[in-house]
């Protein structure tokens, strides 16, 4: 054991090659991506086709015949046009089966929909009938452009960039190797040294995903995700950035070296 440790120390300490470890830590997306214009149009086209081609809704299964629920259901539906002999139908002869016009999509109004909208207008008297209003995909931190917040750019990956006071460039945090420690262990420990212990992370793998060779220095990057907690350094500037903001913040060479690792 001691012999091995001595070997590693020799490798790390020799001036010809210095090993450092870096950490690419990201917050994974919280909400799904906004579909592009093409995507949303195509989804709409396909879902309209699907609605046109779906089988008739078996209302008799959900609303038993002769019950109040069935009455309420049938009352809400739009009345179909029946075929009567000797009548001219300019939009095609009606073809009804189970009360559905077979040449069109079936539109179903559910009793719940009506309850929801009416209570929503009145302000919601009971918790049961209250309409569910989803949270906004754009948060307060988004509007304030608070780069240190993790509640920002919810549909993107956020990456941690730091700038030491002595340096000019923004980059991923890097740490000098301690004797006998492994790359990923050192990167995890290093993050807690600079950012405080109250941070919950998950290291993707003990394998480095990138090496940056700068003269004699070799920095091996370890990939990780932040799961909870706060990165709160004392004497360090930091920012959680998306890939787009990363491009604006770092130098051009650094971006070309690193961009394929970011999503």
């Amino acid at each position: 054991m001691s012999a091995r440790r001595a070997l590693s120390t020799a490798a790390t300490a020799s001036p010809s090659n210095v090993i450092k470890t870096g950490l690419i830590i990201s917050r994974t997306p919280i909400v799904s991506k906004t579909p592009t214009k093409l995507e949303s149009i195509y989804y709409e086209y396909q879902s309209e086709l699907e609605k046109r081609l779906t089988w008739t809704f078996p209302h008799w299964y959900y609303f038993k015949k002769g019950t109040l629920a069935e009455k309420a259901y049938t009352k809400l539906q739009k009345k179909p046009i029946f075929k009567v002999p000797d009548v001219f139908y300019p939009r095609g002869v009606p073809d009804l089966k189970h009360g559905r016009e077979r040449s069109e999509k079936q539109v179903i109004v559910l009793p719940e929909d009506v309850v929801e909208t009416s209570s929503g207008e009145e302000g919601g008297e009971s918790a049961m009938l209250k309409k569910i209003v989803p949270n906004s995909r754009v948060t307060e931190a988004d509007q304030k452009k608070d780069m240190q917040s993790l509640e920002r750019a919810l549909e993107e990956h956020l990456y941690l960039l730091v700038k030491e006071n002595t340096k000019e460039n923004w980059e991923f945090p890097t740490f000098d190797m301690a004797n006998g420690s492994l790359l990923h262990n050192r990167a995890e420990a290093g993050l807690k040294e600079i950012g405080g212990p109250h941070i919950h992370t998950w290291t993707v793998s003990n394998t480095p995903c990138k090496v940056l060779q700068d003269g004699q220095t070799n920095t091996f990057y370890i990939k990780s995700h932040i799961l909870a907690g706060k990165f709160a350094p004392t004497d360090l500037e930091f920012a959680w950035v998306t890939k787009k903001e990363f491009k604006d913040k770092v130098s051009e060479t650094y971006y070309t070296q690193m961009s394929h690792l970011l999503n």
Binding site: S32, H98, P208, C209, A228, H260
Partner: protein
């Protein structure tokens, strides 16, 4: 509607008169509640309803009949989508290839610089799993977006209050 009932009544009368000629003919016909087809037990009736949900019988809409112009439009849309998907796929694969090349390079360099670190980095933990806190992105964010109050040594982080 009226015509048909009259017709049915008349037909009924003729047949009954053939069977029982002695009875006097009456023009009023009373249709009672049907009793013959009602022998199915409630379980069978329920199963029939369930089968009607599963089956396509009488539930299928008319088939689509596209005119040549609409067909060409549809095919154009499909081709556009296929090409868009192909572009996305190519981009994704190129990104993965680049990532693979960079991790391969990193490991080759590490092998030369420090064999001990290399051995440790190449040791695969097959029981490594994604953490419990990992979740599939949803359409809208949760009420509490980020758990900032995490303390060192907390086991379960995303506890709801």
């Amino acid at each position: 509607m009226l015509k048909s009932t009259v017709f049915a009544t008349a037909k009924n009368c003729t047949s009954s008169s053939a069977l029982f000629p002695a009875k006097p003919m009456s023009m009023t016909f009373v249709r009672y509640k049907r009793t013959k087809g009602k022998e199915l037990s409630s379980n069978v009736q329920k199963a029939i309803t369930q089968m009607s949900v599963l089956s396509a019988n009488r539930k299928q809409p008319k088939r689509l009949k596209l005119c040549p112009e609409d067909l060409i439009k549809h095919e154009t849309i499909q081709r556009c989508w296929a090409e868009y998907q192909r572009d996305l796929r190519t981009e994704r694969n190129q990104c993965l290839e680049a990532q693979y090349a960079s991790m391969d390079e990193a490991m080759s360099v590490l092998e030369q610089l420090s064999p001990e670190l290399y051995t440790a980095a190449n040791k695969k933990d097959m029981k490594h799993r994604f953490p419990k806190e990992f979740r599939i992105p949803t359409e809208y964010p949760p009420n509490k977006i980020w758990y900032y109050e995490y303390q060192e040594g907390d086991g379960n982080t995303h506890k709801k209050k």
